[in-house]
Amino acid sequence: MTSRNAGALRDTAFDAAEIDRRLAAIWSTTPGVWGALATVDHKVIGRRYITTAFVFLALGGLLSLLMRLQLAQPEARFIGPDRYNQLFTMHGTNMMFLFAVPVMQAMAVYLVPLMVGTRNIAFPRLNAFSYWMYLAGGLLLWIAFVLDTGPDVGWFAYVPLSGPQYAAGKRADIWAQMITFTEVSALAVAVEIVVTVFKHRAPGMSLDRIPLFVWSMLVTSFVVILAMPAIMVASTALILDRLVETHFFNPAEGGDVLLWQHLFWFFGHPEVYIIFLPAVGMVSTIVATFTRRPVFGYLAMVMALIATGILAFGLWVHHMFVAGLPRLGESFFTASSMAIAVPAGLQIFCWLATIWAGRPIFTTPFLFAIGFIVTFVIGGLTGVMVASVPFDTQVHDTYFVVAHFHYVLVGGAVFPLLGALYYWFPKLTGRLMSETRGRWVFGLIFVGFNLTFFPMHILGLQGMPRRIYTYQPEMPWSGLNMFISLSAVILAGGFLLFFIDVIRSARTGAVASSNPWEASTLEWATSSPPPPYNFARLPVVGGLDPLSDRRDVLPVAAGLRVDRRELLVSSIVEATPEAREASSGDSIWPLLAAIATTATLIWSIFTPWAVVWGSIPIAIALIGWFWPKGVPEDES
């Protein structure tokens, strides 16, 4: 500590009540509209992010119900091809870019700082900015859809169908620009999480003591950082082709339509793991808590996470097995796609071993974890099937694949997410969700999901392609399609009950203690919901399960200032404290920067000059954002 700051107020000088009062004064978000717009509290932004993502989930679900209404009977005239194409494009785009990826990152925004024992996420203003960009991208897409200019080229927007010649109007541009919004926000959150996990862990939380959910988000964040640039390059090239007549994807001028597919899937396949890996972390957390023992094979689990994250980049060509690529290359990707089943299998075996050796408590989150294993294994095994080139030539772009990826994404990620919401709801809101309603929610969703999606495997093998707005009565598909549409009502009922449970529990649920599940990770060491500063004194970690080891006496670190926002910087491997760092205060500038960026990006759909003129307000907003504060940032 430098003598220059000897006069600063530190927590060593006060008793507990006084520390709470002083920390609350400097960390709290100002009440009112201004405070809400300027806040950089990761918990406020995280809750906002999660809520927004679930709103998009509900909207995307409504779209799928409309599609099931149309497909219930052959040659139905309920929805025409133009609207139907918008429906499935919106459903896919919305679920992937506005729900699945953001909601996982949102859970991390809320939970990771608590789980590693710090007071805010790294780069809190960037975090606020990322939420505003995400919201703007979502609004862009949905407002366009309401105005009948929703994208209609499929969620992977293959050229030339999405190119200047075959996609007139601005529909495809809105899709491509929405990508830019969500990727900016996803990349921002990924960077925040990497830095938070690497540099802001509580003293003593060495790499081998990091909770598995945090590990999963760390690996996910690296996958985001490495995968997302590919799609931003692709969507930017598409906008350039459409707006300023470049020819990246035009074969007549030396461009290549398969370039789009390579770039898209180099992102698009890792995307699946960006959604799935956080779910692995959630399942590990839930299983550990409700079997009353640590997850079996911690090191193996971490290695499986990392191996999956790396292998995720070697599989993208299996989305292109029928595009006409050289056979030797395809064989390589068959082998690599099969190989990723090994780390996935290892994780399943470790959970089974954990349950075997533990003492299961059948709460709603645990039911979702069990439902996850049952359905995800099916999704994983059908993944092995489509990894085989000859197999894939029969099921690619059919309802078999629709069934496969819903088993992976709903069974493999949404089930864990719902379990995670039941699990962490008390930490998010201070109230428990209803265990009775929770069981009904699980039952309806589990049964409804399997009845809806399992028959799609059969439809695909019977030759039903995906993305058709209708089919002829001669085809033998009507019976199963009607069955699927009816089953979808059960599934929708489960989700409806879930939303009812969330809203009612948030208002009238049982008040939660700080650790209602007797869990062992740090987020349960503080009140539910946590105070604005998370921890009055930063915890010191002495093991993998800091709360179960010495539940009554969690050691704490002392010496942080109580007169400004300050958190601890620690070393990457051992998490030994290195410095005290100032954490940003609330600021309206991230919102202004997001508005300026939003205006520029939307304007640039119409004219390239928007990039030139739009950079001026963005520059002004960024100058305001980064205006020097005149105080030293770090003290070692």
Binding site: G80, P81, D82, N85, G154, Y158, P160, L161, Q165, Y166, P251, V257, R293, A300, V322, A323, G324, S331, M338, A339, A341, V342, G345, L346, I348, F349, L352, A353, W356, A357, R359, P360, I370, I373, V374, V377, L381, T382, V384, M385, A387, S388, V389, P390, F391, D392, T393, Q394, V395, H396, D397, L461, G463, P465, R467, I468, Y469, Y471, E474, P476
Partner: protein, 319 residues
């Protein structure tokens, strides 16, 4: 012809009638069987883990060691199974064969939203083209060259072979083979815009002699209509904008945007599998193509009811 209904033909990976599809079906059955067993084992273990009776005492270190062994064995088993499935997949790929050694080559051009089909000529005979209907001789390897002209489509006749994309700027090909005579339906599998749903193709496999007879008739120019209605229809067809997009070989109609209609009356379906070829369905289609197949590239040409009847009769007569 033994085919009962025009629009219906076999279209299922589980009902294979051609060499490649049969090999793939064996692979599908094999992999699905292995995976089903794996799933059942996982579920049984999960059920036992959840429900097994637990002793009141603390867990012993011994059982932890046993679990490690079991998990290790399970991972090893997965590696072996995965390797086995990979090899089975490679083996099937090899069995399906490489296009290029075929006796007959057909060029198929996927367009929004129909299939243009070219049969090449030889020294002895001239080539011809047709639409949405491919005839092949049974028991023969047929190479289908796939040419893209607008957006990506995917050629897929599941009862005969797996699918292959039709990509603008690339030449792909596919091996088709039918072991038995019959009608095999396929449809575009890659989303290609408004009428992706109505882009079917019918493959008619017939005995080599029947195939040769069919090919010979296709090589010929269009028949001169004998029936007076049809003759009036020909006059109207040539006078109206129809001929700007369609070819009827042997007449002045030489348009190339739409399907070649030289022998349309002999095809089982019109509008890429949408309707059976009858005089009534032809009239319905010509009268209002945008209601039957919204967004397709055929405009509604204003016709009097007499002209409509005559043109339909003419089309039907083009066997």
């Amino acid at each position: 012809m033994a085919v009962a209904s025009a629009c219906s033909g076999k279209q299922s990976a589980l009902d294979p009638h051609g060499g490649p599809a049969i090999h793939v079906e064996h692979l599908i059955i094999g992999i699905v069987a292995v995976c089903t067993v794996i799933w059942i084992v996982v579920i049984v273990v999960l059920g036992l883990a959840l429900l097994r009776s637990r002793r009141a005492g603390a867990e012993d270190a011994n059982s932890e060691g046993r679990l490690t062994t079991v998990v290790f064995a399970a991972v090893a088993a997965s590696v072996v199974i995965i390797a086995g499935l990979t090899i089975a997949s490679f083996y099937t790929t090899r069995n399906i064969g490489v296009p290029g050694s075929a006796a007959l080559t057909i060029t198929v051009r996927g367009q929004q939203w129909w299939w243009q089909v070219f049969y090449a000529g030889s020294d002895a005979s001239r080539g011809f083209q047709t639409a949405n209907e491919i005839h092949i001789p049974v028991g023969t390897d047929v190479q289908v060259r796939l040419e893209g002209v607008d957006v990506i489509h995917s050629f897929w006749v599941p009862s005969l072979a797996g699918k292959q994309d039709v990509v603008p700027g690339r030449s792909n090909s596919l091996l088709l083979r039918a072991e038995k005579p019959g009608a095999y339906r396929g449809q575009c599998a890659e989303f290609c815009g408004l009428q992706h749903s109505h882009m079917a193709v019918l493959v008619i496999a017939e005995a080599p002699a029947d195939f040769e007879r069919w090919a010979a008739s296709q090589r010929g120019d269009a028949l001169t209509p004998a029936d007076p209605d049809a003759a009036a229809g020909q006059v109207a067809f040539l006078a109206k904008p129809c001929s700007a997009c369609h070819t009827v070989r042997g007449t002045a109609a030489k348009g190339t945007t739409g399907p070649d209609l030289t022998h349309i009356g002999g095809r089982q379906t019109i509008a890429a599998g949408l309707l059976e070829t009858t005089r009534g369905s032809l009239a319905a289609w010509i009268a209002d193509p945008q209601t039957l197949k919204p967004g397709n590239n055929m405009p509604m040409v204003p016709l009097t009811s007499v002209e409509l009847q005559n043109i339909s009769a003419y089309m039907e007569s083009l066997k």
